[in-house]
Amino acid sequence: MIIFKIFLLVILLICAIAVAFVKDNLAAVVVYMSSSTVMAVVWIVLESPDLAITEAAVGAGVTSVLFFVTLKKIQMIDVNLNTIDRDKKEGDSHEEK
């Protein structure tokens, strides 16, 4: 059980640090979601299921959806899925070099 706790806390730390260093906003929101899901498991381990339910519903569910919607509204995510094409082009150019 102690090993499991340490494992969870290490994942939580990695997620918390990774949010600051991820450059893509969409990826940052996904990392934030994963950190809050891990936090929900930590709450269950600490014997507070009330908080775990709230964390899973609010932290991983609603706030991240609101983040996605705001990112779309500020036009950080392209509506026409141009990001995939751009990535492909960039990958091709790198290969050519």
Binding site: D50, I53, T54, A57, V58, G61, V62, V65, T70
Partner: protein, 293 residues
């Protein structure tokens, strides 16, 4: 008289416009001659590098200083569980633990704590959510019909995977939310968490099936009616329990594990808070995405 003379002299100095203007022109000439554009750019780049280094160092120093202050503050806290002889602390804690479940009628004592001893806090939270929704409504409400919304609608209807998975998931999520809200006094959960789950389910439903399907039952009218009535019933229930005992005029065996209605008022309060939270979460989403509820 001396002061007046001094002032006059100063004014005279300022009023000599010609001299000042000549002086400025000279300065500009000197600047242009000494720093042509190429050297300027080089100097600026060097300065920027130096400035960024200084900023990094300053940020690090501030970070370490803040952490140090916070850790120093933690040192002044009493050791956990060391203050056993504190009478007032012990009285409150023993009262809550021994008689809390019988008095409040909630087998899950966390909701009993939130909705009875600290009911005013929860009322404040729900009011904060309500005011947040009204503020978002003021800021983000669309007063004109946009064409972009219709475009988004068409895109949503084309997504088959989302629709297929949502048709399985949405009823399960909504049932789980309702279960968590209604069983808040017995099992872990409560109004806030259940309301958040229900709000998430409604968001998924509107993502999969478009805004038209949700606008049948979730208008601005229904939103106003639901939130205001649930806030008012919360206030009335708590006002009753201030004057009468905790559970008021309800005569029922309280605090029986497994029986939903043994929660007394807490059952009603959970229901109200859950409705408010579900409506506000879904309202946030609609306001962000569509611009109106």
């Amino acid at each position: 008289m001396k002061k007046n003379k001094l002032f006059d002299e100063e004014f005279e100095l300022v009023n000599d416009v010609d001299e000042v203007s000549v002086f400025q022109e000279k300065k500009e000439d000197i600047v242009v001659k000494v720093l042509p554009p190429k050297t300027r750019k080089r100097i600026r780049k060097g300065e920027e590098k130096a400035l960024t280094a200084i900023y990094d160092i300053a940020a690090g120093v501030c970070f370490v200083f803040l952490i140090g202050v916070l850790l120093y503050c933690v040192m002044f806290l009493p050791i956990f569980g060391a203050n056993k002889n504190n009478i007032t602390l012990n009285e409150i804690v023993t009262e809550y633990i021994q008689n809390g479940i019988e008095v409040t009628g909630a087998t899950n004592f966390v909701t009993g704590m939130i909705l009875d001893y600290r009911a005013f806090d929860t009322l404040g939270e729900s009011f904060v959510l309500f005011t947040a929704v009204t503020c978002v409504m003021i800021l983000l409400q669309n007063f004109h019909d946009n064409e972009e919304i219709e475009f988004e609608k068409i895109k949503m209807f084309n997504d088959k995977i989302l629709r297929y998975s949502a048709s399985f998931l949405v009823p399960v999520i909504l049932l789980l939310g309702a279960y968590v809200i209604l069983n808040g006094s017995i099992s872990p959960g409560g109004g806030f968490s259940g309301g958040a789950i229900m709000g998430a389910g409604l968001i998924l439903y509107s993502l999969a099936f478009g805004f038209k399907s949700t606008s049948k039952f979730f208008n601005i009218k229904n939103f106003k009616i639901i939130t205001s009535t649930s806030l008012l019933t919360y206030c009335l229930c708590k006002a009753l329990s201030f004057y009468t005992s905790v559970n008021g005029p309800m005569i029922h065996p309280f605090g029986i594990p497994g029986a939903i209605f043994s929660g007394g008022f807490i059952f009603i309060l959970n229901f109200c808070v859950g409705l408010i939270v579900a409506c506000t979460m879904f309202g946030f989403y609609l306001l962000f995405k569509k611009g109106e509820i």
